[in-house]
Amino acid sequence: MAMISSGTLDRRAVVNALLAERGELAVIAGLGAPAWDITAAGDHPRNLPLWGGMGSAASIGLGLALAQPRRPVLVITGDGEMLMGLGTLATIAVARPPNLSIVVLDNEHYGETGMQRTHTGAGVDLAAMARGAGIPRVHAVRDEAEVAPLRAAIHEASGPLFAQVKIKADALKLVLPPREGAYLQARMREAILGPQAHLA
């Protein structure tokens, strides 16, 4: 099924490119397609795909970035999820963690509920809102050639950074991550903190 989006990029290709040679990167994915996308790129202990808490992905990334200031932290989420927590852009701009990047895969639709149009399909400009909030590095990505520089900027950790990536509104094959939240949390803690994570 292909709905009309102003974007032309393929979401899985973008996510694969952003997660290539990921190094110490920790990744939070908003619920729905972004969680399937990071899993399609290869499940990883430093991935936290969300199954709920819509609107929370960016604030989870903020807490993690503040706790791990020397590690790049990437939040990959959708336009619908970001629209539910827009205030967090202001909170992030004020807290200013340089190692935090928020990438919104913007297909201008709510994918999980049947591809209804989001506000970004009606002209709402998330990149402009991020700039207005005071996020110092903002990328508006429409071309494939802009993806590699975005990946490099994420690893540079001189943000906070916000990127709006305009993608096609394709409904792709589901690639489901584990859905036991305690396992997902514990494995990331162990990957970051070592076995003593469970003795804290």
Binding site: A26, I28, L48, L50, W51, G52, G53, M54, G55, S56, A57, A58, S59, I60, G61, L62, G63, L64, A65, L66, A67, Q68, R71, G85, G87, T88, A90, T91, V94, A95, G181, A182, L184, Q185, M188, R189, I192, L193, A197, A200
Partner: protein, 178 residues
């Protein structure tokens, strides 16, 4: 503005010492008169990241992120803010994340403002409905031991916990009408 504890009250300073003794490194809040002393102490401490939120539900996400990265967080809020957190509290249950909350009550004991009553009256019920262990402190001497228990139960048993500091401790604002 709401009612702030008098500068002569000792419990706000003791609460700060308690947060330090529990190794709290991230303190999230929406500005609140009842928590104003504690917030100021946290903002002045170089080892604490004091994070100002636009809405309390961001604090739930923040505490999950902090825990993922090996830091302990706490959320300070007013009872009205609890209503903003309801769905996000599912994150604590789903992931088994320690999420201690310290809530200053409105609409609770001698309230003047009718708008504060519906959420104040529902605060404990909705927190418990979302799996939070709730304890109340209705006398000033109970505040520190109750928050201590709330922090211990969060980090020792991996769940959302809350202390509700009653309006009887804080006093009710009367807008000049006695």
């Amino acid at each position: 503005m709401d009612v702030a504890p008098a500068a002569t009250e000792e419990w706000p300073g003791a609460l700060f010492a308690l947060l330090k003794s529990h190794g709290i490194r991230q303190v999230a809040f929406v500005p609140d008169a009842g928590h104003s002393h504690l917030i100021r102490r946290c903002e002045e401490d170089p080892d604490i990241k004091a994070v100002v939120l636009t809405t309390e539900e961001e604090g739930i996400g923040l505490m999950l992120g902090a825990w993922l990265g090996g830091e302990r967080g706490v959320l300070l809020m007013q009872s009205s803010g609890v209503g903003n957190c309801i769905n996000m509290l599912s994150l604590a249950t789903l992931h088994r994340t320690p999420m201690p909350m310290i809530v200053t009550m409105r609409g609770d004991f001698g309230e003047f403002n009718p708008a504060q009553v519906p959420m104040g009256n529902a605060t404990q019920t909705v927190l418990e409905a979302m799996g939070t262990l709730v304890r109340r402190a209705d006398h000033r001497e109970d505040v520190v031991p109750t928050v201590d228990a709330t922090l211990r139960m969060a980090f020792n048993t991996f769940r959302p916990t809350a202390t509700l500091i009653g309006q009887r401790v804080l006093g009710a604002k009367t807008f000049g009408k006695e």
